[in-house]
Every structure is written in C-alpha cells, then in structure tokens.
C-alpha cells in the first residue's frame, strides 16, 4: 500500500494524471483501436477500395498468417531481437557496467552514449560509410576491399548495428542496478571463497533480477518495433533483412494495402503483448 504522504487525495491525484491521460488517449489509444478496425476491412491507398472500403472479417489475418513472406519476416524479427537486444545490448551493456572503472569508464561510456543519442538519419549514413564495399573503413582495415557486407550478411549487419546503437541504455541501467548491490554481501561471498562467476550468480543476479527483466522487456519491445534497419538495408536484398516493422511499411505504404497492413500491425501488437506478459510473469515470480 503506497502512502499518500503529500495529502493529495484521489480527486487531486486524478487531476494530476488527467493531462497525460488525455494526450495518450487521443494520440495513442485511439490510433491503436483504429488500426484494429482497419484490419478487418479491405481499405487501400488507391483505387476502388480507397473510396468505399468493405468489411472483410478475418480474411486479412488469415492471409497474413498463411503468407510465407510474413512468417519469414517474423522469424527474422526474432533473430533481430535475440541477437541485437537480448544478447548484444544486454550482455555488452552489463559487462561494460560491471568491469569499467575510473577514467577509462568515463571515456568509454561517453562513446557508447554518443552512439545512442545521435539521430538515426546520421548514424545510418555512418554505418553505410563504414560498411561500404569499396571505400568503407571496415574493409580497408580488414584488407578485403569489395566485400559487400550489406548484401552478403544483411541480418548480421543490422544486428551488430543495433547492438552498437542501443547498448548505452542497458549499460546505464545496469550501472544504476549494480550500485544497489550491498558491498557487504559481495565481501562475505568473497571471504567464503566464491569465484567471480559464483558471485555473479549467487549475489549479483538475485539482487538485480528486477532490473534485468525490466531492461529486457524495454529493449525487446523497442528493438521489435525499430524501423531504423530500413535506412541501412531497406529490408533487402530480396527480403533477407525484412523485419516486421519494415514489412508493414512495405505492404501498407509502398504496396498501398492499408487494410492488410493494419491486420499485420494488429498481429505485431499481439506478439508484443505475449512478450510483455512473459516478462511480467517472470517478474511477479520473484515476489
């Protein structure tokens, strides 16, 4: 039970919450409901169905779930989230928060945060320059001019890119979390002869379990719906890096099938819901 220390009362508390809730309702909840509604129509950007969309029931959902392109896209998204968020950002972020100290820490942190705060339009060009087959820095350093990273390894490229892009958030969150681990517990574990891995497993992880799950929840959702890889590979070549956010853009706006695109969006929403409920259940188990 939280205590109402400032004597706010329900009425004033509601007034404090109201402006935020109104904006959220109009610009977030309403469009979401609209997406679900559009998903059961054959609405199109142009042509006959644009003027007078018809109700088509669950047709869009059935065709999405039986479409090979949609299923491929879902699988690529799973790889993208596991590879760049769960493995890349979370593990690298935790490691950086754990091992860096002093002046080295401040310098490395500065660079990592820089990668996070620069605008996507800029960083996507930086990576196109880095990975350019003929004059890119990476090929020059590796001595393999002409190697087409974005064509031969599009998924690997966007996974490494997104790790570079987003590690800062996990690093800062784990930095704060590790500050909450009581040094005395670590000290007694060390005195009891626990090695580095045992200290991690028995002292640190149990203490920051909540932080880990919150971190994984947020970065998984953000990565799942990230559109930036489009700026690097445009989903190509041949759909090999067409994650779901890019897939929706292609069918709805480039292909003009707004109703079908909305149905795919609704499915994405449901997948996100499943992911979130999964993490939240894990979170609840700890208490």
């Amino acid at each position: 039970m939280s205590t109402d220390a400032a004597g706010l009362g329900r009425v004033r508390a509601s007034a404090f919450v109201a402006p935020a809730l109104i904006l959220i309702a109009v610009f977030l909840v309403f469009p979401a409901l609209w997406v679900v509604l559009l998903g059961v129509t054959n609405y199109r950007l142009t042509g006959l169905a644009a003027a007078d969309p018809e109700f088509v029931g669950l047709d869009n959902f059935v065709s999405a779930l039986t479409d090979g392109r949609f299923l491929d896209s879902t699988w690529l998204t799973v790889q993208f989230v596991l590879g760049s968020a769960v493995i890349g950002q979370a593990i690298l972020g935790f490691t950086l928060a754990k091992v860096l100290h002093g002046r080295v820490k401040r310098f490395v942190e500065g660079l990592v945060i820089l990668a996070w705060i620069l605008p996507s339009a800029v960083v996507s060009f930086l990576w196109i320059a880095l990975l350019d087959r003929d004059s890119g820095t990476l090929n020059t350093l590796l001595g393999i001019p002409g190697f087409p990273w974005l064509l031969d390894h599009p998924m690997l490229s966007i996974i490494v890119f997104n790790t570079w892009r987003g590690t800062a958030f996990s690093m800062m969150l784990y930095g704060a979390a590790l500050g909450n681990v009581p040094p005395s517990h670590l000290e007694s574990a060390r005195l009891a002869g626990a090695n580095g891995w045992q200290q991690l497993r028995d002292v640190i992880f149990p203490h920051i379990r909540g932080h880990i799950l919150t971190n994984l929840l947020l970065i998984s959702l953000w990565t799942f719906n990230d559109f930036t890889p489009f700026l690097l590979t445009a989903g190509g070549p041949d759909g090999k890096s067409e994650i779901l956010a890019v897939h929706v853009y292609k069918v709805a706006l480039q292909g003009g099938e707004l109703g079908y695109g909305a149905a795919v969006s609704t499915v994405i929403l449901l997948i996100n819901l499943v992911v979130a409920v999964f993490y939240l259940r894990l979170l609840r188990e700890q208490r």
Partner: protein, 272 residues
C-alpha cells in the same frame, strides 16, 4: 601474480576492442565534412570550409535545424511537465488498476509510435486540421512518449523518501507546493534524464514529421537530411556529411551539459 597480469591484459584488450567498435563508425562524421570531395572513405581531412559554405547557402538547411529545436524543446517540456505530475500522483496515491494501466500504455506506446500507426495518425491529423502544424506534431509526439516517461519517472518517485513530504504537510504546504519545492528537487536527475531522452527522441524522429509536415519551411533536420541528394539520385556526400555533423552537435552539447550538471545516469531508477 601471473594471473593478475593475464587479467590486466585481458581487461585492456577488451577495452580496446570496445573502444574501436564504438569509435570506428564515428570517424567518418568528423573527417568527411572537412574534406574537399568526400567519399565513404575516411581520409585525413584538408580542412576546407567549402562544405559548410554550401550548407549555409542551402535554402532550408539552417531553418530546418531551428524547426528541430522548436519540436524537440516543445515536446520535451510537455513530456516532463505532464509525466512528472502523473508519475507523482501514481506513485503516491493508489488509483484502481494503476499497474496494469501503466504496463498496457507502455506496451502500446512502443508499437503505436512506429510504422503501425502511420495511417490512423495521418487520417486523424487531417480530420482535426493538425496537418502542417508544428503544435499538432508536438502534441502527437508527446502522446507517444508519455507512457515510457511516466513509467521511468514513477520509479524515481517511488524511491524518494516520503518523510520530507509528510513534514512539509505538517507545516501546511499545499500539494502543488510540495511537488514544486520538495519532490522536483529530489527527482531532478530523473527529470533531466527524461528531458534528455525526450529531446534526443524527437530530434532524431524522421517518420512523424515526414508524414505530417508537408511544408518544407516547417520540416525538421531529419526530413531535410533525406533531400540532400544530387540530380542523379546519389547521396550528396558533401552536404550530407556536413549537415549530419551540424545536426549532431546540439545533442552532443546537450549530453555534455547534462552529464556535467546532473550526472547522466539512472539514480537507482527503473527497478521493477
């Protein structure tokens, strides 16, 4: 002793690899703008001011940076104001269904701000006349950022001691005074984090302004960046690299300022 040495060597190798990984992509941004005819290659620059001259002479480049500032500052101000009020009330008063509501909104915001909501938001903006309006765009962006901001701020609020508020109340302070004079100073690092997060988010947002602002005079830098192509359809690397640098500098300065003044980190926030 050898174990210690091996560990030190391992540590510095790790640091070197991480540094290279994070620094390499950035090299192009600091060399290309000062190079005469830049390619994707990283070269020692010849420090020509010609590219900056070209950007100054570009009809929309500098104006678009001003537009970016208007959008980012306007949105961040609204997000911090509304999110802190809401987060405080949600942290201190148990409203029915609070946690479920927060998680549902957070979930929604991470999806609906992206490509999924492009069509409905566009139709909504047309219907209520918010097309080509910077204020309309600010409100839409604020709605998208608020759930995550409330979520993060509520954790900050939860972890501040309530005893100060109780004693202020004993001395007859009103709830708004308590928020202004006691809670805000206590959670200032949290507010700074949210403000920076919102500013950086809007500063980099391409999709929403691209969709909702058709007047080139009102478009922010993210949109103008994609107009910097040559007649042949190739990216104009002179303009792109230079404008990219100018467009990046404000967020870097902001980060340096905030990290010096408040410390740029989560102070035990976000825990559950």
């Amino acid at each position: 002793m050898t174990g210690f040495v091996v560990r030190r060597i391992g540590f510095y190798t790790f640091v070197a690899v991480v540094l290279a990984f994070f620094a390499l992509p950035l090299l192009w941004l600091v060399t290309a703008p000062f190079t005469d005819t830049p390619t994707y290659e990283v070269k020692v620059p010849d420090f020509t001011p010609a590219n900056f001259q070209a950007i100054v002479e570009h009809p929309y480049a500098l104006g678009s940076l001003v537009n970016s500032i208007i959008l980012a500052v306007g949105t961040a101000a609204l997000v911090v104001l509304f999110a802190s009020l809401a987060a405080y009330a949600l942290s201190r008063v148990r409203l029915p269904g609070r946690d479920a509501l927060l998680y549902a909104l957070l979930l929604l915001s991470s999806i609906i701000t992206g490509t999924a909501a492009m069509v409905p938001l566009f139709q909504l903006a047309v219907t209520v006349g918010l097309i080509d309006s910077q204020l309309g765009l600010i409100l839409i962006l604020t709605g998208g950022l608020l759930p995550a901001a409330i979520f993060m701020l509520k954790d900050f609020m939860d972890s501040t001691p309530k005893s100060y508020e109780e004693s202020a109340r004993v001395f007859g302070a009103s709830p708004l005074q308590i928020v202004g004079h006691i809670v805000v100073p206590l959670v200032r690092p949290g507010l700074a984090t949210i403000a920076v997060w919102a500013l950086a988010n809007v500063w980099g947002n391409f999709l929403m302004p691209y969709l909702l602002l058709s007047d080139v005079e009102k478009q922010p830098a993210a949109v103008i960046m994609y107009t910097l192509y040559t007649e042949g359809g190739q990216p104009n690397l002179r303009l792109l690299s230079t404008f990219g640098l100018l467009y990046s500098i404000p967020v870097v300065l902001m980060y340096l300022f905030v990290s010096k003044k408040y410390g740029f980190r989560f102070h035990g926030g976000i825990k559950r």
